[in-house]
């Protein structure tokens, strides 16, 4: 076997499961340690650099980091990463003094269409570098879907105002109530580059007989939520059916419960497990007495002279073919009728660019999505870039932000006349954490606490007031304990084969049996069979080191390592060391050099 290439930035980055899974590669364990140390402002700024919206994301992030978190593999549940982020935002105090100042105007002006998270990320990154950024949005307030779709009981307006404010203070100009009706006209205004962050603003229609006859009480989910958010819709009928199984459906049903809906139910084509909504969204809906009825295909809307009465559903079951593909076949039972005063349709979201003229140079594919270079996000018209939901269809806030960073790098290169496809390289730094024989500069004791639950406000309070936030957030003490569950996966085990005497001390002490010294193997598959403990998770690397005196190789299954540092503590020769991994992720302006990281002087280096 070849030794693992630990100089490749990806190798150790992958070990930090959460950071690797985060589209913006937020250095999760680093900010979790800061939260444990009570350094909330620092933790906030580490987030702010990577993902711009710690307060928003600490409440509503889709959190791809959590299913990836190693803790979920060695214990029952992952670290509550997302909710810890909110703790940083809730307790940070004043961070303005830590915020960087923009560079002097560099003569270039950029337009962003849409004031959602993608555009706001582009705007921040470029404004700091001295660009003048103008953001257009058809709505009265900035924030995009974060403002108009996500209900206030999950994300209060003040949080959005504050975090959008940290961007506008850099001189970004946001023109609200300014819907762009023509790309051609915008191109003609002479911006140096244009970023399209207009989202996926169209809700999918319900195709069922009776839909249009009863139109007065049938609403498209995202339009209805926007109308609720802006205070135009203040009530709903007592009996409400929400169609669809995604997060939009969950927001619709929970909003309906707060606007007068007493008998609110979600009716979904698929089974409960396959629903697109995140597990916690489903749980929260069920807690608010909303039944989720699965395996029901909408058949026809029942109405009396245009007045909605209810809806009929065909009952189906899932059948899988030998390739594992699912089809829904009718069970033959009679259709099921559900009475309703209102129906909310939340069965999907689509892209739509009615304002981009077909002949202005921007090509779209068969699905109506722009043709883009996936790395640079540049469209077929070189000065136009896309990101967020507008680029590849509906995703989430953190993806929008990640696109924003990449688009900003592209736009900067484009405006400076550089090759957009030449991406700045990722850098890494490894710093030893050793302070003494049994002393590390990180807290290497492994907590055995199970995941702490975030306290919720009383149900009858939140159901009466659509503005009342449901989740109350961790208090500091709970946050500390939850933070201690983090395994510090960025403190990497680094092995120096030349120093090893194969005394087996590391193998003996390792609590999860992830180390093995063995004879060489032909392939990784062979090697996996020779280890001290089963290593079945093929997504996780085997760390292989050759160059031992005996001709054996050292193999570490990265899958279950607790980063407890015991191997390094028991190693007599220092062949193992615990070293923090710092990913140097390029941004237009290197914020690490700027003020926002200035407060880090001791402890684990930022």
């Amino acid at each position: 076997m070849e030794s693992s290439d630990i100089r490749n930035p990806d190798y150790f980055h992958k070990v930090v499961d959460c950071q690797y899974a985060c589209p913006a590669h937020t250095p999760v364990p680093e900010y979790i340690r800061q939260i444990a140390a009570g350094r909330y402002a620092d933790a906030y700024m580490v987030n702010w650099r990577s993902n711009l919206f710690p307060g928003i994301l600490g409440r509503v992030c889709d959190r791809p980091c959590e299913p990836a978190c190693r803790r979920g593999r060695v214990e029952e549940e992952p670290v509550a990463i997302c909710r810890l982020k909110r703790v940083a935002a809730d307790n940070k105090g004043d961070v303005l003094s830590m915020m960087p100042e923009p560079a002097a105007f560099n003569g270039k002006t950029i337009a962003c269409v849409g004031a959602g998270p993608a555009s706001l990320a582009v705007a921040r990154d470029l404004a700091l570098a001295g660009y003048k950024v103008v953001v257009f949005d058809g709505n009265a307030e900035a924030g995009g879907f974060v403002r108009q779709q996500i209900p206030k009981f999950r994300l209060p307006n003040e949080v959005i105002d504050e975090e959008v404010g940290y961007i506008t203070r850099l001189g970004v100009e946001i023109r609200t109530n300014s819907y762009i009706t023509s790309m051609r006209a915008l191109l003609a205004e002479g911006f140096d580059a244009i970023f399209v962050g207009s989202g996926a603003p169209r809700g999918r229609e319900l195709d069922a007989p009776g839909r249009w006859e009863a139109a007065a009480n049938i609403h498209i989910g995202i339009d209805w939520l926007a109308s609720v958010s802006f205070g135009h819709t203040k009530s709903v009928g007592k009996r409400v059916i929400v169609l669809g199984g995604g997060n939009t459906a969950m927001d619709c049903c929970r909003s309906a419960r707060r606007l007068g809906g007493e008998d609110v139910k979600v009716i979904v084509r698929s089974g409960y497990e396959e629903m697109k909504a995140s597990p916690w969204e489903k749980e929260d809906a069920i807690k608010e007495d909303i039944p989720i009825i699965n395996m029901r295909v909408p058949k026809n809307v029942v109405h009396e002279d245009g007045k909605l009465v209810g809806m009929n559903f065909e009952i189906v079951r899932a059948v899988y073919d030998d390739k594992g593909r699912r089809s829904l076949v009718p069970t033959g039972e009679p259709d099921e009728f559900h009475a309703a005063d209102d129906i909310i349709v939340a069965i999907g979201q689509e892209n739509s660019f009615p304002w981009i003229e077909p002949d202005c140079g921007i090509t779209f594919d068969r699905w109506g999505l722009p043709r883009l270079n996936p790395d640079t996000l540049q469209s077929t018209l070189p000065q136009v870039f896309f990101g967020g939901d507008a680029a590849f269809g509906p995703k989430n806030v953190i993806w929008a932000v990640a696109h924003g960073h990449q688009a900003a790098i592209s736009i900067d290169k484009f405006c400076q006349g550089e090759d957009v496809t030449e991406r700045p390289p990722l850098g890494i730094t490894l710093v030893s954490q050793k302070m003494g024989i049994h002393e590390w500069s990180y807290d290497n004791a492994v907590s055995i606490d199970l995941r702490f639950k975030v306290p919720h406000a009383e149900k009858d309070v939140v159901l009466r007031d659509i503005y009342a936030e449901v989740e109350l957030g961790f208090d500091r003490e709970m946050a500390f304990k939850e933070a201690q569950r983090c395994l510090n996966c960025d403190v990497e085990t680094v092995f120096a084969p030349k120093l090893c005497i194969e005394c087996d001390a590391c193998v003996d002490i390792c609590p999860v049996d992830c180390l093995t010294f063995t004879t060489d193997a032909e392939s990784e598959a062979d090697l996996r069979l020779k280890l001290n403990a089963p290593a079945r998770n093929l997504e996780q690397a085997l760390y292989v080191a050759t160059g031992l005196k005996t001709g054996n190789i050292m193999v570490k299954d990265e899958d279950v390592c607790l980063h407890c540092g015991m191997c390094a503590e028991r190693c007599p020769t220092g062949a193992w060391d615990m070293q923090t991994f710092l990913l140097d992720q390029p941004q237009v302006v290197d914020l690490k050099q700027k003020k926002c990281q200035g407060a880090h002087s001791h402890g684990v280096p930022a």
């Binding site: 055995i448 609590p511 049996d513 407890c564 015991m566 028991r570 007599p572």
Partner: protein, 351 residues
């Protein structure tokens, strides 16, 4: 200096033995020995062996003397009985315990100083009395705990850390054990668990005195150039005669090696030792030949390892003495103190 306990979290697929225990359940407190000490590997091997044999931890008694090696029982079998004796006196204490309660499994752990220097006499008599026990000497050629003086097992010509040469003849505990009546004798290396773990298992299953000499480098005082008990030296000079698998009663044996290369030894408890022979000539049942073989190879500077001798028909101290099969603590007062009439009767019978 803080010694954090070993984290409780374990591999998600950590298996359980027949008693429902995981290997982790056989651990003890965190070791305070020097990092890299061979003794820690032996502790790990003992843990593996007891787990694999599914021994009930509360039926094991671990006894030791004084020394780094003798400290190790704290670091394994946290749920077993333990006794830390005076320096070199473990064999006597163990003999007494075994006499009183024959139902426990006795594990004596000692060092080369503890057993070959101050405790040599104790060691000799426990062997010749045939105490039913597993006796492990963690042999590093020095007094580790008192900072590295040569012990009685140090080879003539070996150099200490400062460069001084040992002039005295070494005590070979393997040959002594065979000579003195140990019915199971083996040697191994702390850095080779594939050989050591089954050897300990076989010894634990053996009835009678089972002695294992485990070369166990002292990283701090005896792991330098010129030492004959260093990791490098032992790896270079290790001459294994066999490796073994211990097969518990219920399991079938399938001999999957070429003829002559495998030998099966049946022990008292019904367990089988499957020997994979490296040296096909070597006969583990022939004590005289074994002693000769060990001496011959030793004189060539080789360290012979493996199961060196086993007497599968061995007897133990209780057999020799014809003692009661009931341990003393299970007898009632009347049986323990039969009274003056019984004494008078006994005396009369001897007149």
């Amino acid at each position: 200096m803080t010694y954090l306990p070993k984290p409780k979290l374990h591999h998600p697929e950590l298996p359980k033995n027949d008693l429902g225990y995981t290997r982790r359940d056989y651990e003890g407190s965190i070791s305070t020995l020097c990092a890299g000490c061979g003794h820690d590997s032996i502790s790990a091997a003992i843990i593996h062996a007891c787990y694999e044999l599914a021994l009930p931890p509360h039926r094991i008694a671990k006894l030791s003397g004084i020394g780094c090696s003798s400290k190790t029982p704290t670091y394994f079998l946290g749920a077993s009985h333990g006794f830390n004796s005076v320096h070199g006196r473990m064999p006597s204490v163990l003999t007494g315990a075994a006499a009183a309660n024959r139902d426990l499994i006795y594990l004596g752990v000692s060092g080369d100083g503890d057993s070959a220097s101050i405790g040599l006499g104790q060691f000799a008599h426990a062997m010749r009395r045939g105490v039913n026990m597993t006796y492990i000497v963690e042999n590093n050629g020095v007094y580790g705990l008192t900072k590295g003086q040569f012990s009685a097992t140090a080879d003539r010509g070996a150099k200490n850390k400062k460069g001084a040469t040992n002039q005295d003849a070494p005590i070979d505990m393997i040959s002594m054990a065979m000579l003195l009546g140990a019915s199971f004798v083996g040697r191994s290396f702390s850095g080779d668990k594939t050989q050591l773990v089954p050897l300990i298992k076989a010894a634990l299953a053996h009835k009678g005195p089972a002695f294992i000499d485990v070369i166990s480098p002292c990283v701090t005082f005896n792991n330098h150039e010129g030492s004959t008990k260093s990791y490098d030296y032992v790896r270079e000079h290790n001459e294994a005669v066999n490796f073994l698998d211990v097969i518990l009663g219920r399991q079938e044996i399938t001999v999957d090696y070429s003829p002559g290369s495998v030998e099966v030894v049946r022990q008292h408890d019904g367990s089988l030792i499957k020997l994979r022979k490296i040296n096909s000539e070597y006969d583990v049942n022939d004590k005289i030949a074994a002693m000769e073989y060990v001496q011959k190879h030793q004189s060539k500077g080789e360290i012979v390892t493996g199961l060196l001798y086993v007497d599968s028909d061995s007897q133990d101290m209780h057999d020799h003495l014809g003692t009661s099969s009931t341990p003393l603590n299970a007898m009632d007062d009347a049986a323990l103190v039969p009274g003056s009439a019984a004494l008078a009767k006994l005396n009369a019978s001897l007149r």
